[in-house]
Amino acid sequence: MDNLNTYLFIAAILFSLGMFGVITRRNAIAVLMGIELILNSANLNFLAFAKFGGMNMSGHIFALFVIIMAAAEAAVALAIIINIYNNFKSINVDEVRELRQ
């Protein structure tokens, strides 16, 4: 249980699930959730490597900044999504198709 690969596998699965969400969900907010999963999986990696790499605190710092960044990004993304909703009355990604020739 407590070895590096376990965590890495968990992270990989989360990453893949996040990917899957991003690729398949039609709702922009759901896509955003997928992205959060991806970021979390990376964080898990960082922390796992930090622990098994001899308590390397750089990983912690990295994870910290990722979390900060994720918050900022989520804020902006949601602002955009809500703005879109106000304009399109839909936030299905594939229906936002003004830009098609």
């Binding site: 398949t24 969900r25 990604v93 594939d94 098609r100």
Partner: protein
């Protein structure tokens, strides 16, 4: 000026006509009388100069007389071309002939072309024609000969096409030029073959080179045949003879000039000039071509009704003689015939011109534009109306038929003797004399047919008969002069033997040995001719008599119906009448296919190659771009993608889900890209 009388005179002779040409082209129209006096004056001066040269040649009496002068035309270091003159006895005689005929033509044309809309231009072109021919005559090298050779072609093009409003005239002009170009190709290849081996264009150096063995064998034969191809086209030898009869579309004086002295003579002159370099094989080709042409053209002439066509084919036939004689080695005889033929053929053409002129006026008076003024079937009985023309033409007809006392007899006899001698040395080539004598008989026949149909019998068109008049003296003067010159005496002086060509000509114009190793010497050939002289004479007299007699009985006495015979020999008559369908076949098998091929090539080039291959690059790019655009922007078709996931779907939802351009497809692609990159990198 070089200080050498011959060269200086030659220069003047060469450039006076072209000066006249230049004046005529630019200001001719604005001069009084449209400037015809400029041209006439120029050629008369050349005639005087030519006579002067001729006189000094006679006085000098040197058979090996030769003068050369040249200048550097271009120089790139090693590659250097020098152009120059070669004046020897052949040149001088030929210059005189050209100057004489040219002068006569100019004079004759004054009346004949009176009132023509392009009168001054006509004279200009005559000047150009004379210039070009003089250039050929004077050339001492292949390059300038080739250049003037082509200029002759152009001049003929311009003159044949003088009445270009007529389609037939412009066609004929084009045909003449193009047919000549075919020959030019051969000529040029010949030049290249010689030059690539010997590095020179100058005749004397070429002869030296061949004598030294630098060039010989098959290559030389090919070179010779190439050069001869040029001569074939110019001298209208079979199968390149087709242009000449059509060239009758030009004004008749032009025909006279062309047939007697300039254009067609050039070919013969070329082979005479270059005789020493022809290999026996090349000569044999010449002999056969010439011989066959002589006979073949004669058979056509029999059935023609157009007076000028008859004369045209007769020219072809006579040229065949000349070539034949060169081929058999008796090239001086050929040259001799060239000179005599120039006189009487020019005269015959002037005569026919005179007749046509008169017919034309008569028809014009009756406002008859339907009737062909050149058709002999509309003539007859003109003897009384046009006595000078008649007598002049009669003399010339006798000359061409090879009747003793006239020049033609001497030259033709020499040729036939040469042929006979050649055949006796090479019995395998017995056909050559057969061609010769056969043609001689037929010549006599059709020439008398022409005379009788035109001048004897009853007028076929009595309504215009009264308006037929003798031509003005500008036109009769050349007739008289040239018919006079068709008498033997002018060629045998200082001797008076009408049966022997022994005279100044034979003494001054002598054959040179061939420089090709293994060829017979001039002396050997001359001996042969000498021996064959009397049998040939006898034979030729017989065949000429037979021809004349047949003609006499058929057309004058009408003992034998020509029509009956034509009926009886219908297929042959048709062949002859239609000139063996040469034009038709050339048109059908050469010209039209060429045009079709060119259309095809153009089609391939423009509508296939450019449209599909070249633009194809563009189109493929666009197509690619289209697909890339779709792939890139819209992702794989959603049906395919969705099809993998869900095979069934409610119909109503289909449209909704088929919407494309969604962001996630891009993301998917990016992921796929990553996978691909990983895979590529790992393996």
């Amino acid at each position: 000026m070089t200080g050498n009388m011959f060269i200086d005179y030659s220069l003047l002779i060469l450039f006076l006509p072209v000066a006249a040409f230049t004046i005529q082209i630019f200001i001719g129209k604005r001069l009084p009388r449209q400037g015809d006096w400029v041209s006439i004056g120029a050629v008369i001066i050349t005639l005087v100069l030519a006579i002067a040269m001729f006189a000094s040649m006679l006085l000098g009496n040197d058979p090996n007389f030769s003068q050369e002068a040249s200048f550097t035309w271009l120089d790139m270091g090693v590659f250097k071309i020098e152009l120059g003159f070669l004046v020897d006895n052949i040149t001088i005689v030929m210059l005189l002939v050209v100057a004489l005929i040219s002068t006569m033509t100019h004079i004759f044309s004054v009346k004949y072309m009176e009132g023509d809309i392009r009168y001054s231009r006509y004279f200009a072109y005559l000047g150009l024609f004379t210039f070009s021919m003089n250039g050929i005559v004077l050339a001492n090298n292949l390059i300038s000969m080739y250049m003037f050779w082509e200029l002759v072609g152009v001049s003929s093009y311009l003159l044949i096409g003088h009445w270009f409003e007529k389609d037939s005239a412009s066609d004929a002009a084009k045909k003449a030029f193009l047919t000549n170009r075919v020959g030019d190709i051969g000529f040029f290849i010949g030049i290249m073959l010689i030059f690539s081996s010997l590095g020179t264009f100058v005749f004397s150096e070429i002869f030296d080179g061949i004598a030294a063995g630098k060039l010989g064998g098959t290559v030389l034969t090919f070179a010779g045949v190439g050069l001869f191809l040029g001569a074939m086209a110019k001298s209208s030898q079979f199968p390149l003879h087709i242009w000449l009869p059509d060239a009758m579309e030009g004004p008749t004086p032009v025909s006279a000039l062309m047939h007697a002295a300039t254009m067609v003579a050039a070919g013969v002159y070329l082979v005479v000039r270059l005789f020493p370099l022809f290999t026996p094989d090349a000569l044999l080709v010449m002999a056969y071509v010439g011989g066959f042409t002589a006979l073949f053209a004669a058979t056509i002439a029999i059935t023609q009704n157009d007076i000028k066509k008859v004369l045209a084919y007769s020219t072809v036939s006579q040229l065949g003689y000349m070539i034949l004689s060169v081929g058999t080695g008796a090239y001086i005889a050929g040259f001799f015939h060239l000179v005599t033929h120039a006189m009487f053929k020019a005269c015959l053409f002037y005569g026919s011109g005179s007749v046509i002129h008169s017919m034309h006026h008569a028809l014009h008076k009756k406002h008859d534009t339907e009737t062909d003024p050149q058709d002999m079937r509309n003539m007859g009985g003109f003897k009384n109306k046009m006595p000078i023309t008649y007598w002049a033409m009669l003399i010339c007809t006798l000359a061409i038929s090879g009747v003793p006392l006239f020049s033609g007899f001497l030259s033709k006899d020499a040729i036939l003797a040469g042929t006979l001698s050649f055949a006796s040395h090479n019995p395998g080539h017995f056909l050559l004399p057969v061609f010769g004598f056969g043609a001689a008989a037929i010549t006599a026949f059709y020439m008398f047919r022409l005379m009788i149909m035109t001048f004897h019998g009853k007028p076929k068109m009595p309504e215009i008969y009264d308006d037929i008049h003798e031509s003005p003296k500008e036109m009769t003067f050349p007739l008289v002069l040239l018919s006079t010159l068709s008498v033997f005496i002018f060629y045998t002086l200082p001797y008076f033997n009408p049966f022997s060509d022994h005279g100044w000509f034979k003494e001054l114009v002598v054959a040179k040995d061939s420089v090709v190793p293994g060829s017979e010497t001039a002396h050997y050939i001359a001996e042969g001719i000498h021996h064959a002289h009397y049998p040939a004479m006898a034979l030729s007299l017989i065949v000429a008599s037979v021809g004349i007699f047949l003609s006499w009985t058929m057309y004058f006495k009408k003992k034998i119906s020509a029509d009956d015979w034509a009926e009886k020999l219908k297929p042959m008559y048709n062949l002859s009448f239609n000139k063996y369908f040469f034009d038709e076949n050339y048109n059908k098998y050469l010209y039209q296919p060429l045009l079709k091929l060119s259309s095809l090539v153009a089609y391939i080039d423009w509508d296939l190659y450019d449209k599909y291959v070249i633009n194809g690059f563009g189109r493929v790019t666009k197509l690619l771009s289209f697909f890339t655009g779709r792939m890139d922007y819209e992702g794989l078709d959603q049906t395919i993608i969705d099809g993998i996931g869900r095979t069934t779907r409610r119909a109503g939802g289909v449209l909704k889900y088929l919407q494309t351009g969604r962001l996630q497809s891009y993301l998917l692609f990016a992921l796929l890209g990553i996978i691909l990159l990983v895979l590529v990198q790992s393996f």
